[in-house]
């Protein structure tokens, strides 16, 4: 019977779906049925003899100690919900019942365990459900079970939860509300929004879902607590973002709109309303309403855009003008996208509108400015040209084309060098290369250009570098037709050459004249004096050899002849002096005027042979040709002596003064003087103010003096009154010794 019973039990054990196993008190596994093999993955051979701890997760080791403790005391552990680790590493949730095994003597020596993967799905669902979920006793509000999400989210451990009630997780002000809930009918009043407090003290907003269940045979509530704090915040943020969007729209003058194709209704954002000149409440427009704002000239464009946008399904843009109710015109840029439904049909159109009035006006102005520049470039008289580093012409204005007789189509690939006379090409090419290499090269150049028809023109070009991002990308030339100027210059040059030739010719003629004059002077000196001397000589011989045969009248006549030949001789000498002076170069040197004047006075007194009172002041020196200045003094002093010769007491005063940059010397006598009315004649050649019978003279002396002084850059003048003496002045420039 015992064996039969045993076999039966063994059979039941072996074919049970439950895992049935036995172990010693120290945990060594002693038996292992088929069910255990399925649930834990180990075969009987593999696991028997091993310790049970191989199956227990580290966190549940204490659990096992508790269980063994109960077993030792002979207690039963029933439907203990726990988890174990399979051979393949996976966790398996089991419901465990453990009972003590006794030997024949009734001593507990091991334990048998029955493990069932019981309610596994629900357990998993509960514990792994991502939202905090728990079960509370409806009478005590005690937590009976809580899932992982609750532990994770609230910060209390599983055990802490189980020691608490649902009241404990509520902040003070909500505790009362929770306790006072009317639970007479059901417990659904606890549904809805609540505030919970987490272990760290933070308060969260939760939305409670609740159902009534029976747990462990007791009426309980299954609670799902959805934390909506972030959702609330997100809603707040959304509100905030919407506000900000509106602000941004307002600032950027960008509005948005939505168009529903089914209804044809267009909803405008606040800023869109402002752009269209509408109040915020007038934000709903029919297509008809919308089109009534569009500027008539742009209406076709806008309608075409609406049609296009519905056909293209892509992003479309359009620029148009609107006329607001108050008549102001605004420039609008609009861009929109189509939203399609699940069947791929367009449902909505979302778009933005941008008020670009100011930008457009600025752009227009810019265009006008550009237009103005363009006009300047085209109307300027210079040919303007931009070329690249290879000399290829990139741009040229009309004037440039005109200069070279080109058509605009000729510009394609044109290189300026082809239109430059060959002799100028090397220089221009060299400069161009150096300029685009960044060197500073003379920017002006004149060269001969070749027109398309082969004719040549003179051009003046001013070149500058064209930069882009700091690099030379070409050059810009302003080219001017200077053919006329060149012609004028050439003519002028010819004229100068002619003039120079004429001057040369004249100089040669003058030199010839000078030469003739010298020959003439020579002849005068030599050939005129000889006959004079002969007349004089023979008159003298006549007088001497035949003196006793001539009467007094004949003697007088001979004397007249002799006197006149002598006067003529003197005249010739003085004229020669005068002529010679013209040719003579001044030999200037520093001259001591005091000693010069002393010498001249001595000479004159010796010639004159009568006492004359000389008062001589201290005279400043001068830089002059002292041979010639000596002649000046001789003339002036001899004149002073001569013209004062009839005075009983002859007096000559010599002094000097400084006037500006000149020294003025003066010679004053107490002679007969002259009438100032004739003072102009004083210095003329052969001009005399006195009769020959009164005072001897040729009329050449003062003329010679005037020439000498003038040649020195000075002046000569005289002051006098008839009968009251005369004063002669001459000035010499004060010069530093060379």
């Amino acid at each position: 019977m015992e064996d039969t019973q045993r076999a039966l039990y063994e059979s039941i054990i072996n074919y049970s779906d439950d895992a049935i196993f036995s172990k010693t008190l120290d945990g060594t596994i002693t038996s292992w049925n088929k069910g255990a093999e399925v649930i834990f993955g180990y075969t009987s051979d593999e696991i028997v003899g091993q310790n049970i701890s191989a199956l227990i997760p580290m966190v549940r080791i204490n659990e096992e100690l508790e269980i063994i403790g109960k077993i030792r005391k002979g207690e039963l552990v029933r439907h203990y919900e726990t988890e174990r680790i399979r051979k393949d590493g996976r966790t398996v949730n089991i419901s465990l019942t453990v009972s003590p095994l006794k030997d024949k003597n009734g001593v507990i020596n091991g334990a048998s365990g029955i493990a069932r993967e019981s309610e596994k799905k629900y357990y998993n669902l509960f514990h792994n459900y991502p939202v905090p979920t728990w079960v509370i006793d409806q009478d005590t509000f005690k937590f009976l079970d809580v899932n992982k999400a609750a532990v994770a989210h609230y910060g209390y451990s599983y055990d802490e939860f189980l020691s608490m009630t649902a009241v404990d997780i509520r902040p003070h002000d909500e505790k009362k509300r929770f306790i006072n809930l009317d639970r007479s009918k059901d417990h659904f009043g606890a549904r809805g929004l609540w505030k919970h407090i987490r272990k760290d003290g933070t308060i969260i907003n939760v939305e409670i879902s609740l159902d009534n269940i029976i747990f462990d045979g007791r009426p309980c509530s299954l609670i799902v607590a959805q934390d909506i704090t972030e959702k609330t915040e997100a809603e707040d943020q959304l509100k905030h973002a919407t506000f900000r969007l509106q602000q941004a729209q307002s600032i950027a003058h960008i509005g948005s709109w939505e168009l529903n194709f089914a209804t044809g209704i267009r909803v405008l954002s606040d800023e869109s309303c402002r752009i269209y000149g509408l109040s915020v409440k007038e934000n709903i427009l029919s297509t008809q309403d919308f089109l009534s704002f569009v500027h008539p000239d742009d209406l076709d464009e806008v309608i075409r855009n609406i049609i296009d946008s519905q056909a293209s399904f892509g992003t479309v843009a359009v620029s148009y003008r609107i006329i607001r109710k108050d008549g102001t015109i605004r420039h609008i840029y609009s861009q929109s996208e189509i939203e399609l439904n699940a069947e791929g049909k367009p449902v909505d159109q979302y778009g933005i509108v941008h008020d670009v009035t100011e930008q457009n006006l600025a752009l227009e102005q810019n265009l006008q400015t550009q237009q103005r520049y363009k006009q300047v470039v085209e109307n300027i008289l210079d040919g303007l040209m931009i070329d690249d580093p290879n000399g290829k012409v990139l741009f040229a204005n009309d004037q440039f084309l005109k200069l070279f007789g080109l058509e605009r189509r000729d510009l394609n690939g044109l290189v300026l060098e082809d239109y430059i006379a060959p002799e100028f090409r090397p220089v221009l090419r060299d400069r161009h290369n150096r300029r685009v290499a960044g060197e500073d090269v003379p920017d002006m150049f004149e060269y001969q250009g070749l027109r398309k028809d082969g004719s040549s023109i003179w051009l003046e070009v001013r070149v500058c570098k064209v930069f882009e991002n700091g690099a030379v990308i070409g050059t810009q030339s302003a080219i001017r037709d200077i053919t006329d100027r060149k012609k004028a210059e050439e003519e002028l040059s010819k004229f100068y050459q002619l003039l120079e030739q004429k001057v040369k010719d004249r100089t040669i003629q003058l030199e010839a004249l000078n030469h003739e004059l010298e020959s003439f002077s020579y002849s005068v000196a030599h050939d005129l004096r000889a006959p004079l001397r002969i007349i004089n000589g023979y008159s003298e011989i006549l007088k001497k050899d035949y003196g006793n045969k001539l009467d007094a009248e004949a003697d007088r006549l001979i004397n007249v002849i002799v006197t006149n030949t002598q006067r003529m001789g003197k005249l010739i000498d003085e004229i020669l002096n005068l002529a010679r002076l013209g040719r003579k170069e001044l030999a200037k040197q520093s001259t001591d005027m005091n000693s010069l004047v002393r010498t001249v006075i001595a000479e004159q007194l010796a010639v004159f042979g009568k006492p004359v009172q000389f008062d001589v002041a201290n005279l400043p020196g001068a830089i002059c040709d002292n041979t010639l200045i000596r002649q000046v003094w001789s003339n002036l002093l001899s004149n002073a002596i001569k013209y004062s010769g009839k005075q009983e007491h002859q007096s000559v005063i010599i002094s000097s003064s400084k006037k500006d940059d000149y020294v003025v010397y003066s010679v004053q006598d107490n002679g007969v003087g002259f009438d100032m009315a004739y003072s102009e004649k004083l210095f003329g050649v052969f001009q005399r103010l006195h009769k020959q019978s009164e005072f001897e003279g040729t009329g050449v002396g003062l003329a010679l003096v005037e020439r000498i002084v003038t040649k020195h850059g000075g002046k000569i003048w005289a002051e006098s009154e008839e009968g009251k003496g005369a004063t002669f002045y001459f000035s010499l420039p004060i010069m530093l010794p060379a």
Partner: protein
């Protein structure tokens, strides 16, 4: 051909001038052997014993030459140059007697080695005195190399 001692050779183309000069020279009785030649080329022939004077002896070389500058054919400066370039004639004193005061004539004459340069005064008395004095000086007072 002249083989007697010539005191003065007067080279002057103007006969009237020459007469006045000769008259003045003859006032003093000293050294009265005077030869007058009125042509430059002939003067050179005389001095260098050429042409019609080929037979001139060394004795006929003048002790003093009075030379006018303005002469036909061969000018006075050319004659002076030849005299002073020749070893035999270089020692003969040559006095230029001329109407020209031109500096270039004076300078050129001195460069060629003239012994005196006299500008003839227009006044006959002065002229006459000057002639007498220069004759006295060169023929009597002056000691030429032997």
């Amino acid at each position: 051909m002249i083989d007697q001692q010539v005191d003065i050779l007067l080279i002057e183309d103007n006969p009237d001038e020459a007469e006045l000069a000769i008259r003045s020279l003859k006032k003093s009785n000293l050294a009265n052997n005077l030869v007058h030649i009125d042509d430059g080329a002939e003067a050179l022939d005389f001095i260098f014993a050429k042409g019609k004077y080929a037979g001139n002896t060394a004795q006929s070389r003048p002790r003093l030459i009075l030379l006018d500058l303005n002469l036909p054919k061969i000018g006075g400066l050319e004659i002076l140059k030849q005299i002073k370039a020749n070893d035999h004639t270089r020692m003969i004193p040559v006095v230029v007697l001329t109407s020209s005061q031109e500096q270039r004539d004076v300078i050129e004459s001195y460069k060629l080695g003239v012994n005196s340069y006299i500008v003839k005064p227009v006044n006959f008395e002065s002229f006459s005195r000057a002639i007498s004095e220069l004759k006295m000086y060169w023929l009597v007072l002056n000691q030429p190399p032997v």
